[in-house]
Amino acid sequence: MTNEMNEVIRREEFGDVAVLHIMTNSVDAVSASAIEAVATATAMRPITVLDFANVSFINSAGISALLKFVVSAKKSGYTLYAMNVTPHHQKVFKMVEMSRYMPPIEERDLAAYR
């Protein structure tokens, strides 16, 4: 089951899993408010995956927006993962220790839930 949350996120849900596909290629000050608007418990599931396959740029304004998902997940007791993160963005996530709150997951790891 999929549906459009807004123009920047496409949501896919199966069982206890929600995959939030980020559709904008730039997670920055411009797209931050639209991304933050989706970071609510209702959009998330016990296992929530942010899919960065379409994302080619993330800056600190974007990281700030992504942290809203971390906060929502924490409040709900949900687990948050990041999927299809480029090596450069993996480096940046490690620099700010974002990876501790949003560890990487592989697409094949989700197969068991489908």
Binding site: K74, M95, V96, Y101
Partner: protein, 144 residues
């Protein structure tokens, strides 16, 4: 020395124009793909800082970006028209539980800049602040 100048109004969407310029300049200097990404992120942070904290998002105030291409290095000067700053904190910032709980989700920009470029410096006065980023050319870099 060659220079590329970009002036933008203090509106966030135009940071993307500077970022695209950084991408082209980095490629023209033959930087590796990873270094081009580092350059784009550092420049993005510097420009957003100038827009938000220097010019307070006043659209009438400009952010001036100069890419100065030297034989041994790239210098990027990002200048705002704000009232200046006394200090800039480049110390390491990471996501922490207490900051998340307190709703403090920002403040990584200056740390990222300092970690991604070879060196950086700030010159500030009452008429504005210039943040200079430097990336030195390496033996494996090659001109396009």
């Amino acid at each position: 020395m060659q220079q590329v100048l970009v002036n933008i109004p203090s509106v966030p969407i135009f940071e993307r124009v500077v970022r695209a310029s950084a991408d082209e300049v980095g490629r023209a200097l033959g930087f590796s793909a990873e270094r081009v990404e580092d350059l784009k992120l550092a420049v993005s942070e510097a420009v957003n800082n100038a827009i938000d904290h220097g010019n307070k998002r006043h659209p009438g105030k400009l952010v001036e970006v100069v890419f100065a291409l030297h034989s041994d290095k790239l210098e990027v000067h990002v200048t705002d028209e704000g009232g200046g700053v006394e200090t800039v904190d480049f110390s390491r910032k990471v996501v922490e539980d207490q900051n998340l709980d307190a709703g403090m989700h920002r403040g990584f920009g200056m740390y990222l800049i300092s970690a991604l470029v070879d060196d950086c410096e700030v010159n500030s006065s009452q008429s504005g602040t210039t943040l200079t980023l430097r990336l030195y050319r390496r033996s494996q870099d090659h001109d396009e």
